[in-house]
């Protein structure tokens, strides 16, 4: 430690303690703050943890490196390497165990003073401590001390004042190391190899060396610049990382000739690299002046044996705090947990999450995988529906048969939850259109469906006569518009939009009254205005303001409205056209847009998205010339087909098959081409003709089912033989009676409900009587018999047939979502 940049270490065994060291050693205790308040004097480390300072040790000046004793006992013994090369044992524990008391304060002194760069405790022989020193002429730079060694005869008692203990005590010096290695060299980093207690890897000056203590004359070495911070992967004992400047080298000790891999070079020099102790192949690196810990997730690194594979290394980074990070330490046991310290000694405790992969399920739940864990996350059911995403809304609407009420079309907005005014307006429009069509049908049957999907544009365009495109002549306040120049088609369109009632009456009065009754003052006023009845509009606004339910500001609006002037350059006009944009209500906004607009250009009204489409269409019908057309173009085209396909696909994904089928039925009424043809024909084994010959005149409604021959209807003759060749039809594998005969109750069947089923109205072809067969083994019989068989059996009822008929189709085993609680 230079004294400026703190380092941080987790206790190897007491997992809630760590030490921060700069000029002194400070021991902290970590506590969870999940269920408790932050205690006075503790430092917050994260949202749910805090640290309390337990003790400070400032007895060892000139600290260069610190290593925590790896044994359980004594718990807080640390080795401190000093600038003069001495290694001092010191403690932060409050309870000084007498057994180890004589270890505390012990010093290990090299022959020549020089900086101690690194310390490493032997993981197996806990008393061995390796120290790496700078070079001093031909002296050794790697010294291995035995901390329990008997004091050598030449020990020199040294008087020292112990500040903390307040007592005078002799400190014993050890000068004879167990091993001396690395002669005439410098040692920058050290680590013991887990393969053998006596193997030591050292980053020397310009080479990495492996010393074997069994034979100290031998060493294995490789020349490299990457000699800093050697560290062994705890999960892969042959994999070693070291660094030089901004580059990390990964080595494989089995082929210790060159790095198997070098990681992307960082622009700034590295200060620390460390393998995650709780997870394989995760290397954390830190560079100078950085607030980012860069992580390398080594999913695959090249091996010296076997073929060349490209490495898969996922580069990640975490930013635990805003300040530069001085140092970090992995927690020894907590998964991917790390603590960092900044130069000003603020600390942060955090966990590196694994890369998360995620997927949405079609039913709007989100699944993600983080590490080895899976998490499922679903939208809460009781949520306010306004906040729900459209996917959820659509699903809930589909579930409530939204869009499938083709009789009372307007009811669909209630099926959708009755909370969206836009939807309400839409379905009412459709309702009016449908009603009109039905009226037309009564007048001229045979013209069915011509209007429903025709769209306003084609209705209006179907008029051959050209409507005069002059601005309606109105200057007075309540002058009625001349409705004569609205042709019949436009009136129809207005009817469809709900502005005017059916019949010859073209008065909007009833519509206005109904709007007023529903409290839609603004809309009513706008409609009145668009019908050029300013007086009525003002009156409606006044009513709204005085009703109590409406906004009092409506009076103000009414006042502004009454000031209307046709003068082009009037102040009124100028102010209204700018201030109208500040109005919140879209209808109020469009009223002023209308009043201030130039003749023939009503974009301010037509493109106000918040105004109901049908009001805008009605407006367009009233004021736009034919050439301007209307903003809607609801035509049956390819896009619509595509939308239908997508919607059907959604219903299928949600397993709303019944809804989809219902939708298809309604659709085929309008578009017979969408009706699928019969999909299955059964041909007679003997003559090859379709056995449905007898009922071929009746088009089949069913899809995928075969009900041929078994009508069960007393009015039709029973068919037990091929209508072509009169040969008998196959027998049911269970009752062994020819198909087409009335089915008897299941042999030995205790299912009384089936009997009840059979006693039901026999005029309907019952499903129990239907032909079924397995497409795989081609055995089959009456559907009812087959179903009851497979309730208890997996294999086909035909002897010696091992076909698992019912399990062949996984989708077939899915239950429609409508029948179960979603």
């Amino acid at each position: 430690m230079s004294g400026t940049k703190p380092d941080i270490l987790w206790a190897p065994h007491q997992v809630d303690r760590f030490v921060v060291c700069d000029s002194e050693l400070s021991l902290y205790h970590v506590e969870s703050t999940v269920n408790s308040e932050l205690k006075a004097g503790s430092l917050r480390l994260s949202e749910d943890s805090a640290a309390t300072l337990l003790s400070i040790n400032s007895e060892t000046p000139y600290m260069k490196c610190v290593a925590w004793y790896l044994n359980y006992d004594p718990e807080c013994l640390l080795a401190v390497g000093q600038a003069n090369g001495r290694v001092v044992l010191t403690s932060l524990g409050q309870d000084h165990n007498s057994k180890f008391k004589d270890l505390i304060g012990k010093e290990f002194v090299p022959k020549h003073a020089r900086q101690c760069n690194t310390l490493a405790w032997n993981p197996l022989d806990s008393n061995w401590l390796a120290a790496g020193l700078d070079k001093h002429r031909a002296d050794f730079s790697v010294l291995i001390w035995d901390i329990c060694s008997k004091y050598t005869p030449d020990i020199v008692p040294l008087e020292k004042v112990r500040l903390s203990a307040g007592e005078t005590e002799t400190t014993l010096l050890v000068t004879k190391p167990l091993y001396e290695l690395g002669q005439n060299d410098a040692c920058l980093s050290l680590c013991w190899l887990p393969r053998d207690q006596k193997l030591l890897l050292a980053g020397m000056h310009r080479n990495l060396a492996i010393f074997d203590l069994r034979n100290t004359s031998q060493k294995m070495f490789v020349n490299t610049k990457a000699v800093q911070g050697v560290t062994v992967d705890p999960y892969f004992h042959d994999r070693v990382a070291s660094f030089y400047e901004g580059q990390v080298a990964i080595w494989d000790l089995r082929k210790f000739e060159k790095p198997v891999l070098t990681l992307t070079e960082q622009p700034k020099p590295l200060t620390k690299v460390a393998w995650c102790p709780t997870r394989t192949g995760l290397l954390a690196t830190l560079t100078r002046d950085s607030n980012i810990i860069r992580l390398y997730d080594m999913q695959h690194t090249p091996t010296p044996i076997g073929d060349e594979t490209e490495p898969t290394i996922i580069e990640r980074s975490v930013q635990p705090c805003d300040n530069y990070i001085a140092s970090f330490a992995w927690h020894p046991t907590s998964q991917n947990r790390m603590i960092v310290v900044t130069p000003n000694r603020t600390m942060s405790d955090f966990t590196v999450f694994e890369r998360i992969s995620l997927a949405w399920s079609p039913i709007t739940s989100l699944m993600w995988a983080c590490g080895r864990h899976l998490y499922e996350c679903a939208e809460e059911e009781n949520d306010n529906s306004l906040e729900k995403d459209i996917a959820t809304k659509m699903r809930l609407r589909a579930l409530s048969r939204y869009g499938l009420d083709t009789e009372q079309v307007w009811r669909n907005h209630i099926l959708a939850g009755n909370e969206d005014p836009q939807l309400k307006s839409l379905w009412y429009t459709l309702h009016f259109m449908k009603q009109y069509t039905e009226d037309m049908d009564q007048k001229s049957p045979g013209n069915k469906g011509s209007l429903v999907y025709a769209g306003i544009k084609s209705i209006v365009k179907s008029s051959l006569g050209v409507v005069e495109s002059s601005r309606h002549n109105w200057s007075g306040l309540d002058k009625q518009t001349d409705t004569q120049n609205l042709n019949e088609e436009r009136i129809l369109a207005l009817q469809l939009c709900g502005w005017i009632k059916k019949g010859m009456d073209v008065d909007v009065g009833p519509f206005l009254n109904s709007l007023v009754q529903e409290g839609e003052w603004e809309r009513a006023a706008a409609v009145a205005l668009f019908n050029l009845d300013i007086r009525r509009a003002i009156q409606i606004l006044n009513e709204g303001a005085s009703s109590g339910k409406g906004d009092l500001n409506l009076n103000v609006v009414a006042m502004a409205l009454s000031g209307y002037t046709d003068e082009k350059n009037s102040l009124w006009r100028e102010m209204c056209s700018t201030l109208r944009l500040q109005l919140n209500n879209p209808y109020l906004c469009v009223m002023f847009a209308f009043l201030t607009s130039e003749a023939g250009s009503y974009d301010g009204v037509l493109y106000e998205n918040k105004v109901a489409v049908r009001d805008r269409v009605a407006f367009a019908c009233k004021f736009l010339s034919d050439s301007q057309g209307s903003p809607l173009d609801v035509l049956k085209d390819e896009r619509v087909q595509y939308w239908i396909e997508n919607y059907r696909n959604l219903l299928d994904a949600w397993r709303f098959w019944h809804k989809r089928a219902e939708f298809d039925i309604h659709r085929s009424k309008l578009d017979p081409s969408s009706k699928p043809l019969a999909q299955v024909f059964v041909s007679c084994n003997f003559c090859g003709k379709s056995i449905s010959y007898s009922c071929s005149t009746v088009p089949h409604q069913g899809r995928g089912f075969s009900q041929y021959g078994v009508s069960g209807s007393p009015t039709k003759s029973k068919v037990t033989s091929c209508p072509g060749c009169r040969k008998p039809l196959p027998r049911c594998a269970l009752c062994l009676i020819n198909m087409g005969t009335p089915v008897s109750s299941c042999p030995g069947g205790s299912k009384s409900d089936e009997k009840v089923d059979l006693s039901k109205d026999k005029k309907l072809a019952q499903f129990n009587n239907w032909f079924t067969w397995c497409h795989n083994c081609r055995h089959g019989g009456h559907a009812g018999h087959m179903l009851s068989w497979f309730r208890d059996h997996a294999e086909c009822p035909v002897s010696a047939c091992t076909c698992k008929c019912m399990q062949l189709d996984t989708t077939g085993n899915l239950v429609p979502a409508e029948t179960v609680q979603p």
């Binding site: 949202e47 999913q299 580069e315 955090f350 995988a369 959604l650």
Partner: protein, 360 residues
């Protein structure tokens, strides 16, 4: 509001991918433990692992389901340089009785010389087709001409992307106005300014995939790419996970305005760009309607993004990777309160959560 709960996955190593089938009743996971697991959802909503088998001789990066009309079919891809197609069969064994199903390998696709990084089935209207991409920078499109025979796959197209590929996405649109299209992302991290996201489109005339667009603004490594479900839109939405979350819209310029025969030209707009993950974004996933995007990143959080009617995208939810809620008010871009959760902090009671939080 979203609520998270944990499922015991029992994978021996990191899970790399999660994938749902068409109905959302089945799920597949794949892992560095070289296995794939298939999960079935019970009527009560719980997930049960019904199959787990060793699929590859290396980490399995991705797993994906085919549309059920092709059967119960999975594809996986791996570091072992292969992709494989799997089919569930009802065998002679009594697996089903033990609640286990049996999956057999139908084919191994061995064309790649390097790690196969992604595999995706084409939209079903194109038939049984799948695309793979690999670290050697090649996208391969395979087709099973006979849907009844899953062991026969022919390599139809090889598209060279020049850069190591990390992810692909098919454009899901089945509209006839939209030719088949694949977006490819590259995680090449070498310091060059090349664009890392490309879009290839099938040309009916040449019967080849040709590059339609390069997203020039995406120059950092791309980790995931996803077209939003189309649902009838005339344009496409593409999400990209790179050093931030990006959402692009691609509006096809009408054919008559471009030279006929060539690839479609697009008006490309970036509609959202969020760096709330602070660092790398790993995955993006669209919900079924393409209205909510979920993303995950190195801040260890899952974030949800949604557009309002003005097409302004916003963060609508954040959850930590372990399912616990994110507390504190330092989240940017979030107008909603943090997501609730009833899950206890599963990893460790001392879990830090300040990971990657930016206080700006």
């Amino acid at each position: 509001m979203f609520v998270a709960r944990s499922i015991a996955a029992d994978h021996k190593d990191l899970i790399h991918d999660v994938s749902f089938d068409f109905h959302g009743r089945r799920m597949a996971t794949c892992s560095s433990d070289q296995s794939v697991k298939v999960w079935d959802k019970s009527e009560s909503g719980d997930w049960h692992c019904t199959a787990s088998w060793k699929t590859h001789s290396g980490s399995v990066w991705r797993v994906t389901w085919a549309h059920p009309e092709f059967g119960q079919v999975l594809a996986s891809c791996s570091f072992d340089r292969t992709a494989a197609v799997w089919e569930e069969i009802v065998g002679e064994s009594n697996d089903k009785l033990r609640g286990q199903s049996h999956w057999v390998k139908r084919t191994t696709l061995v064309d790649s010389r390097t790690s196969v990084t992604d595999v995706k089935f084409a939209p079903k209207h194109m038939g049984l087709m799948l695309a793979t991409c690999s670290a050697d920078g090649i996208v391969r499109v395979y087709e099973a001409p006979d849907v009844m025979n899953l062991s026969q796959w022919s390599l139809q197209h090889e598209i060279s992307c020049k850069l190591s590929c990390s992810c692909i996405s098919w454009n899901p649109s089945s509209s006839r106005a939209h030719p088949p299209m694949i977006a490819v992302g590259s995680d090449d991290s070498s310091p060059n300014a090349m664009a890392k996201a490309q879009i290839f489109e099938y040309n009916e005339n040449t019967r080849k995939y040709a590059k339609a667009e390069t997203l020039m603004t995406v120059t950092d490594p791309v980790h995931d790419i996803a077209f939003a479900p189309n649902l009838g839109r005339s344009f496409h939405i593409l999400a990209i996970a790179t050093k931030d979350v990006r959402i692009f819209t691609l509006k096809p310029v009408r054919k008559e305005l471009t030279s006929s025969g060539g690839p479609t030209k697009f008006e490309i707009h970036i509609v959202a760009q969020f760096d709330n993950h602070n660092s790398q974004v790993w995955r993006v996933s669209w919900n079924i309607t393409g209205t909510v995007l979920a993303s995950s990143g190195d801040d260890g959080c899952v974030r949800l993004w949604k557009a309002n009617y003005m097409d302004n995208w916003k963060c609508t939810g954040i959850l930590k990777g372990n399912g616990s809620p994110v507390s504190g008010s330092s989240q940017q871009g979030s107008s909603n309160p943090p997501l609730g959760s009833n899950v206890p902090n599963l990893q460790n009671s001392l879990n830090g959560s300040s990971a990657g939080r930016k206080h700006s």
